[in-house]
């Protein structure tokens, strides 16, 4: 293969290194106005009144929207398509605010400065209510209900086999309570949106991963025909799930609909952290039933998921957790109960891994504990229980695909020079050990909803190719991936393919850039579209060359007769012939594709950590990531995903969490300095291993990498810490304080 497997930089790298790439906030539309938002300073309150008179008196203020002058329609910001069953409980501006950071009002003005000034002059009277941050508190009978019907959002309860019996029959049952924190996607680009209503059509420019869904929500909110709403995605400064649920688009659209001028809304870093979306915090009560030899015969999970103030994606994330609970270990009995709980905290949503880290981290930590108790090597314990090719997801009843998790563990064991030994520095100050963890994530949404995309391919008059796709390149390399695939199928150079993506008015429908469906679903759709285009080109070339299609082949952009290679024509010859001579019209393909598989993408992570026994600080010295990738279409960008996923996972394991002031419900570290993401100097040396053993139904055997890249990292690091200190940290992130407490608890 010439193109697939090659190392190519992202398609717009030139624009990005020269500052020419246009992001949402770089847009300057003629007559553009600027919006700013007022967010709730209180955690839970009825809004009794909003007085905007002083704010409106400022010169340059055009309009102020708030709960008393805005549609009361209720929606769910994570809706994927018309008819998608998602609990609607959110309003653009609610009458009752439900967390510090909830939306209260928006001002649109001539300048950002004026808008900010006006925001400060809006007078809101709140009737405060008791609030709750902790999910277990929120479920108590006397907790103040955040929504009608109480704080239990919903629950799912699924079982395969008989968990009760497994627990009775096991030689040992291990139990633990594990917690994972609220964390932030922290795309470097703060959330922003621009919109323009010209009196008839609404155009929204937004850094979204989910444009086709947003236009459905906007159409329902503003009662506009879908074909008059155009969502365009400029260059996106990072997604990671944070641009999956609709947050700012409804407000910006509302404002431009009112003022009929372009409006730009750009959030501050703080407001991006607090008032957009987060990864759900979870508490997991786990029971693992094992035999003496380490065979797992039962897994029992009870997961309490902090939805935050609104439902949004929560029940889908819980669905994701339930499915992942079934995809890693061959336990014949698995019970999963997932409970979504409202609290007065920022709203949980999509984030890289979508429910996987929350459910897998607890089990991976517990497995290391079990290995210690049974005096087994933790890798051997995992190898004894991991799924193998041919296995199915017992809940969803579909194949796990060519799942190579054992190979990941085995390769990683070699790459890191695995040892169970704890090294102690001579002065006893530093303890160093290696931790490992396995991880799994999916390839699309098949099994949950339909999973579909469409690819349009056409040949222009000079033989160059245009590919239209509704998928969204958000920096992950979707466009290059598709270009490589098409170039491979058509045996042409990538440069002759231009990809137009992510514009609801011009590109065909796609479900959205989430759920790690880019390569596995849209990549395969592109491959099939390429084959159809090849057929169409050959068919036309056969007329032109007066021969049969079966005698033609393509190489280096030329179609030739295999028996007489001198007899050849270019793509341009064929395109012009089709348009002008044979009058078959433009050579154009629209490939509709439905994915009917959803295999797992597996990984193993190994972290060598050094714990300072005086300060309890942890340094990650080395990290080895081995991924079951099927086939790396573009190893350069695959590595980029893995390296970025490790950065995110290290933060999850060690430094990142939302910290709340219990008295006010305020997030006290919503700040680029105080919310600690890993910096360059914090990063360990990274070694990557790829298992490329071909996933059936993926394009050229490829499967997903974007989300799985972060799933196992936190668990691997904390397992390293637990081995180093000889006890158990159950709560992420493993801060010095939590490590100290775990050690003190053991001493008692």
């Amino acid at each position: 293969m010439k193109q697939v497997g090659g190392r190519y930089p992202i398609h717009d790298a030139y624009e990005k290194v020269t500052g020419k790439a246009i992001y949402t906030t770089d847009l300057k539309l003629p007559g553009m106005l600027y919006a700013q938002m007022l967010f709730s300073p209180v955690a839970h309150a009825y809004i009794k009144s909003v007085d905007t008179s002083e704010a409106e008196a400022i010169e340059g203020v055009h309009y102020i929207a708030h709960t008393f002058n805005t549609t009361e329609k209720i929606f769910n910001s994570a809706l994927r398509f018309v008819g998608h069953k998602m609990k609607p409980d959110e309003q653009i501006f609610p009458r009752k605010v439900r967390y510090v950071g909830d939306r209260v009002a928006a001002v649109v003005a001539d300048t950002e400065e004026i808008a900010l000034k006006a925001i400060k002059l809006i007078k809101v009277v709140y009737e405060e209510l008791p609030f709750v941050i902790d999910v277990e508190e929120a479920l108590k009978d006397d907790a103040e209900p955040i929504h009608e019907g109480g704080n239990l959002l919903n629950k799912i309860d699924v079982e395969v086999g008989d968990i009760k019996k497994a627990i009775e029959e096991a030689d040992y049952v291990f139990e633990g309570r594990y917690t994972t924190p609220i964390v932030h996607q922290f795309a470097m680009e703060p959330h922003s949106c621009a919109a323009n209503y010209d009196g008839k059509r609404l155009t929204v420019y937004t850094s979204s991963q989910n444009i086709f869904a947003y236009r459905v929500i906007l159409s329902q909110l503003f009662e506009m025909p879908i074909n008059r709403i155009r969502m365009i995605r400029p260059t996106v400064g990072g997604g990671f799930g944070g641009e999956y649920e609709m947050v700012l688009e409804s407000i910006t659209a509302l404002l431009t609909l009112k003022v009929r001028k372009p409006v730009l809304l750009e959030l501050s870093r703080k407001d991006s952290i607090v008032s957009c979306r987060t990864r759900h915090a979870a508490i997991v009560y786990l029971k693992v039933a094992v035999k003496k030899d380490g065979t797992i015969i039962g897994l029992d999970y009870k997961e309490l998921v902090n939805a935050g103030a609104y439902a949004s994606s929560t029940m889908n994330v819980i669905g994701g957790s339930s499915s992942k609970a079934m995809m890693m270990y061959r336990s014949p009995n698995i019970h999963y109960e997932g409970i979504g709980v409202y609290t007065n905290t920022p709203v949980g949503g999509a984030m890289r891994g979508y429910g996987s880290p929350q459910i897998q981290t607890p089990l991976e930590l517990e497995l290391d504990n079990i290995a210690r108790q049974l005096n087994m090597d933790p890798i051997e314990l995992r190898l004894r229980n991991h799924v193998i090719p041919g296995d199915i997801n017992p809940l969803k009843k579909f194949s796990l695909g060519n799942c190579k998790v054992k190979e990941c563990l085995e390769k990683g064991r070699e790459l890191i020079n695995w040892t169970e030994e704890v090294r102690v520095s001579e002065d006893g100050k530093f303890r160093t050990a290696i931790g490992c963890a396995s991880g799994v994530h999916g390839n699309g949404v098949f099994g949950v909803t339909i999973d579909t995309t469409n690819i349009t391919l056409k040949v222009t008059e000079d033989g160059s190719i245009i590919l239209l796709t509704g998928t969204q390149d958000i920096g992950q390399g979707n466009v290059v991936m598709m270009r490589q695939i098409i170039a491979e199928v058509l045996q042409i150079e990538q440069d002759s393919i231009e990809v137009i993506d992510a514009d609801t008015a011009t590109t065909p429908f796609d479900m959205g850039t989430f759920s790690s469906r880019g390569t596995y679903v849209s990549g395969e759709a592109a491959r099939l579209a390429g084959i159809e285009l090849r057929d169409a080109i050959l068919k036309e070339a056969a007329i032109l060359l007066e021969t049969n299609v079966s005698e033609l082949d393509i190489d280096d952009g030329m179609i030739f007769n295999i028996y007489n290679p001198i007899n050849k024509v270019s793509f341009a010859d064929v395109a012009i012939h089709s348009q002008q001579i044979s009058q078959n019209g433009e050579i154009i393909i629209n490939k509709q594709y439905y994915s009917h598989q959803n295999p797992g993408s597996y990984c193993a992570g190994f972290a060598e950590v050094e714990v300072n026994m005086e300060t309890y600080e942890t340094k990650v010295k080395r990290y080895v990531a081995v991924h079951d990738i099927g086939k790396a279409i573009n190893p350069l960008l695959v590595e980029g995903q893995i390296e970025g996923g490790i950065q995110m996972g290290l933060g999850y394991g060690l430094t990142e969490e939302y910290i709340f002031d219990d008295k006010t419900g305020v997030v006290t570290n919503a700040h680029a300095k105080k919310y600690k993401i890993f910096k360059a100097k914090d990063m360990p040396g990274i070694t990557i291993g790829l298992i490329e053993e071909i996933e059936p139904y993926g394009p050229f055997g490829a499967k997903s990498i974007g989300e799985i890249s972060t799933v196992a990292v936190g668990a691997a690091v904390v397992n390293g810490i637990n081995r180093a200190i000889g006890t158990m940290v159950h709560d992420l992130p493993a801060t010095p304080d939590r490590i100290r407490k775990a050690i003190e608890l053991t001493k008692k």
Binding site: K16, V17, Y23, Q647, K679
Partner: protein, 156 residues
């Protein structure tokens, strides 16, 4: 107020006296290559060079830059030829979403202008005020080493 940006002189109205350099670049001059990531001097997306030193333009006031040499990402490509650091960022795969990229490149330029053979540690120290969420910094560090080789090869 006279500003010298990428070797070009700009006359800026007095009414912008209290604005930040970032505001002037982006909102007044249309030089939007410099990004706003935090506004609090903590992420480095707005990094520009001031007399060769990297500064966060989001907290740099105009009166502090008058008469000084300001370099932004827009000034690196000359006559259609990329700066070796830009080339290296592309080739090494150091660019994903690209939002941190201009700031990263400006920081790298300040480093390499003073230390043409930086160690890994030199690079990581230099990048301490530049955050990235896509790359884990791995290929950014690689790109800076690669740029160092490219510049040295050119000089030879």
């Amino acid at each position: 107020m006279k500003l010298i940006i990428n070797e070009k002189e700009y006359e800026i109205s007095e009414k912008y006296e209290k604005k930040t350099l970032l505001f002037i670049l982006r909102e007044v001059l249309g030089l939007t290559g410099t990004k706003k990531g935090c506004g609090t001097s903590d992420c480095g997306a707005c990094k520009v060079l001031l007399d060769g030193k990297p500064v966060n333009s989001c907290v740099t006031t105009i009166k502090n830059v008058i008469g000084k040499k300001i370099e932004t990402i827009e000034g690196l490509e000359k006559n259609g030829i990329l700066h070796p650091i830009q080339e290296a960022f592309i080739e090494a795969g150091a660019v994903q979403c690209g939002f941190c990229t201009p700031g990263m490149i400006m920081t790298a330029k300040a480093l390499l202008d003073n230390n043409l053979e930086p160690t890994d540690d030199d690079i990581k120290v230099a990048l301490d005020n530049n955050l990235c969420r896509c790359t884990g910094y791995v290929k950014i560090v690689e790109a800076i080493h690669m740029a160092s080789s490219k510049i040295q090869a050119k000089e030879e």
